[in-house]
Symmetry: C2
Subunit: 136 residues, 2 copies
């Protein structure tokens, strides 16, 4: 078991954003929402190229801030997401992608049935401070 | 009219994240969702203090990366948000706050009726590349 990804211990990576900014100084966060269920399924990053590519392909395309390349979601896994709508916030410094899955969920982790999850499958227990797994 | 906030021209601030990381090197992005409607209403940032404060107060508390201080949403405006749930992603580097408004919406901008909007009130038109105002 990958403790970070499957465990109940909260160990937030507060160093992430500094790494993102160092690796990819020209990205914005994008909240990704399933347009049919309303579920928030991912927060990722886009730069201008990724946004343009997403609009042209009408697919959920991001910028991988670790690999420093276009991240065409599902290109290898098969779980692709149609881009239905892009929303922009007041200050034009974040986005919402409203998407529709062609097949399965968006996360690279899998539940016990072997199916991809969506990324927010853990809920913080306010009393214990531990994480409850919602899609084991 | 504030062109950045009200206008139809897409002028994304791709320099935002570098500023965030420089001002607040220990924050993570949080997508804020209305738990009743499913609407994504804001993307903001939290550090450890803001998260702890949010959990203790059961309110939507963020870290203001510009003012470098706790941002207790609604403390001055009156639009407060009860914190119903916190979700954590696979890699523990982003959050979702599921919230319930006590009164109005979350954005600092207002529509023509003088009421606060939610932040994603503009949709990108895929054909023209312009922004459509959904809550004028």
């Amino acid at each position: 078991m990958n403790e970070l990804e499957e465990g109940s211990r909260l160990q937030l990576d507060f160093g992430k954003l500094v790494k993102v900014a160092a690796n990819a100084p020209d990205v914005l966060p994008v909240a990704v929402q399933n347009v049919d269920t309303g579920e928030v399924i991912l927060v990722a990053y886009v730069n201008e190229l990724a946004l343009r590519s997403a609009i042209e392909s009408r697919k959920a395309v991001f910028w991988s801030t670790s690999r420093k390349e276009l991240w065409e979601k599902g290109k290898t896994s098969g779980e692709m997401f149609d881009l239905v709508e892009v929303r922009v916030n007041c200050e034009q410094n974040s986005l919402v992608y409203r998407v529709r899955p062609q097949r399965g969920n968006i996360c690279h982790t899998k539940n016990k049935a072997g199916e991809p999850r969506n990324c927010y499958y853990r809920r913080l227990d306010f009393e214990t401070g531990e994480l409850d797994l919602l899609d084991p």
